[in-house]
């Protein structure tokens, strides 16, 4: 390549690693077995760019090694939660080498649910229950503190009433009618950041956020709770999460609005009273919001 062309280019960022490293970790307590199955993406940034610049590979830790490392760390450190495991992976890459500047890990957990019947849990059998996907990510710089996020995604919920949308802004392109009573369907995505990494019960925190989202969406079981907009429900969920989990500093929620439209059957001589609806994949509304804990002054 022309030397002149090199002079016109500078690095913005670099990073490389291995994606989709999968492991199933089993912990045996007598006949009672515990499992965590995960899929990890690991990316590291080195302190030199000679690999990119001149094809000098001497500093590159092969991505195959990165894969092996994930396997080995699962054996050496064990996997209790995906959060702790991602912290362990970052820590390893930043402390085992002198030339790694930054490490990033993203992990998704496979939703295995232990079989249970009449309150009795099975010792070692599970069923795949994808009602929600648990994930986490950690980013850490050399000599820095890790920044840890946990999240839930692909959690699809629907309610047939107690949702409306009216008194919105109208302009010449607005054709939408006010709705006092509509179906509300969404696939929730939420990601939150912790303000520390030690001494947190990650399982409990994740369960709490998931349940809070469902609680605010559904409302009391005998009558539900009216939602004047996705925005309002989303915000109230965030406030409740921050109240319930002091270790959460910031939370983002994304709720697409997956529309169901009442099919007009008048041409067939039928009066469809919002009984038969058409699920419409796209387009879908998309409502987002991120809030963080207000900084409190210290007495």
């Amino acid at each position: 390549m022309e030397t002149a062309a090199h002079q016109n280019v500078e690095f913005v960022r670099t990073g490389y690693g291995k994606n989709a490293v999968r492991v199933l970790f089993i912990r045996r307590h007598g006949r009672h077995h515990y499992i965590v199955e995960l899929k990890a993406n690991v990316e590291i940034t080195l302190n030199s760019r000679k690999d990119y610049l001149s094809g000098d590979n001497s500093d590159i830790i092969p991505t195959d090694t990165i894969k092996n490392t994930v396997h080995a760390l699962a054996k050496i450190k064990g996997v209790k939660t995906i959060e702790q495991f991602s912290l362990d992976i970052c820590h390893h890459f930043l402390t085992s080498f002198s030339h790694v500047l930054k490490a990033k890990v993203y992990i998704e957990e496979a939703p295995w649910r232990r079989l249970e019947k009449n309150g009795v849990q099975h010792v070692h059998a599970f069923i795949y229950s994808p009602e929600a996907c648990r994930f986490c990510d950690v980013e850490q710089n050399l000599h820095g503190t890790p920044v840890l996020h946990s999240g839930v995604k692909d959690m699809k919920v629907l309610k047939t009433t107690q949702s409306g949308f009216e008194n919105f802004f109208r302009d010449r392109f607005t054709t939408l009618q006010d709705a006092k009573d509509r179906c509300f369907c969404t696939t929730v995505y939420s990601r939150w950041r912790y303000n520390k990494v030690h001494g947190i019960d990650f399982d409990a925190a994740w369960k709490c956020v998931k349940e809070t989202i469902i609680e605010k969406f559904a409302g009391p079981y005998d009558r539900g709770e009216y939602s004047p907009s996705v925005q309002k429900t989303l915000y109230e969920t965030q406030v409740l999460v921050l109240e319930r989990i002091p270790e959460v500093e910031e939370i983002e929620i994304v709720m697409p609005n997956q529309h169901y439209f009442t099919i007009d059957m008048t041409k067939m001589g039928l009066a469809n009273n919002d009984e038969v609806l058409l699920p419409l994949d796209n387009p879908s509304g998309n409502i987002t919001g991120t809030v963080c804990r207000k900084q409190r002054a210290r007495l």
Binding site: K102, E139, Q140, N141, L142, H143, G144, T145, V147, N195, K196, P246, E249, C292, Q295, R296, A297, R298, L299
Partner: protein, 315 residues
């Protein structure tokens, strides 16, 4: 470098003052000067010389709080000072405040209840209150806070010939816990009328005003505190937060950088360096300023780069 563990707490190793005589007296002097880092080292030395020194533990706890290191403050005050001297009133009050800052309501109430029960001015009142109430132990839950507040209010009425600034501080803390910020302001103001040079009180007043959304008044109070004690890290941190709330983001960043710079002027052997929450607040201010290119410097704690970017001098 393996940190020494005393009472489950990390002390700095290779403490240059370890074998020095009169370290406690010198610590008090350094505390007055506002050199918090050296104060901590001197107190650690005093404690290594005599682990039962309750006064040293107490001052250490309070210094950590001033230096915006709440976890260390709580450990110093709670594990050691109260184990050694269970009725130490200043330590109990400081502990209640540390718990309040961390949102540990029940623990804060516990400390305040112990404070008033062992206070010679009010123990009779507490006895009377216990005998009148039917349960032998204080009620748990939301009532516990209200009961305690009432007790402190009754105690305040006893002081016909003058304000008890410590009792008013307790009241201020309780009003903060129930989010009645206006009354909390009154309480701390009353305490300040007796002790106008007490920079800790000025900061407590400021923090109460800030948490009650009275930001400009908060800034005035912090400024008073910092004028009295320029090395008061906690107050500078609070000032930075109020600057954020007022939209004065560059001032916020300057304050955080100044505080962090003061904190790192410590001896190389010191285990305690800069406060995580000051770094976290700095990151928020940078995010609001849209200076996301500086996040890397925050991640690696490159204070020099950040100070250069905002033209903050190394004083």
């Amino acid at each position: 470098m393996v940190p020494e563990r005393s009472f489950g707490f990390c002390f700095s190793t290779n403490n240059p003052f370890r074998d020095q005589p009169n370290v406690f007296a010198e610590a008090q002097e350094k505390a007055r000067e506002g050199d918090l880092n050296t104060t901590v080292l001197l107190l650690e030395a005093a404690i290594l010389q005599d682990p039962q020194d309750a006064e040293a533990w107490q001052l250490l706890g309070m210094t950590h709080a001033e230096n915006e290191n709440e976890p260390a403050a709580i450990v110093s005050l709670q594990r050691s000072c109260l184990e050694l001297r269970p009725h130490n009133l200043p330590a109990l009050m400081a502990l209640a405040i540390s718990f309040t800052n961390g949102g540990a309501q029940q623990e804060a109430c516990g400390a305040l209840r112990r404070w008033i029960s062992h206070n010679p001015r009010y123990k009779d009142l507490v006895q009377r209150d216990l005998l009148q109430g039917s349960p032998l132990t204080p009620r748990r839950g939301p009532h516990q806070l209200q009961d305690l507040l009432q007790l402190f209010q009754e105690a305040a009425l006893l002081n016909v010939d003058g304000v008890d600034p410590d009792l008013q501080t307790g009241l201020g803390v309780l009003y903060n816990l129930v989010s009645d910020y206006d009354r909390a302001v009154e309480a701390f103001s009353a305490a300040l009328s007796v002790r106008p040079q007490d920079y800790l009180l000025w900061n407590r007043l400021g923090a109460t005003l800030a948490n009650g959304n009275r930001c400009e008044e908060a800034v005035e109070a912090y400024t008073q505190a910092l004028e009295l004690q320029p090395g008061f890290i906690r107050s500078r941190y609070n000032l930075g937060i109020s600057c954020i709330n007022l939209g004065a983001l560059r001032e916020a960043v300057s304050n955080f950088l100044m505080a962090l710079n003061q904190q790192r002027q410590s001896q190389p052997c010191s285990q305690h360096q800069m406060s995580d929450n000051i770094w976290a607040a700095l990151r928020i201010a940078l995010s609001m300023l849209d200076r996301t290119e500086l996040f890397q410097a925050v991640g690696t704690r490159d204070l020099d780069q950040l100070m250069g970017a905002f033209e903050v001098d190394d004083v």
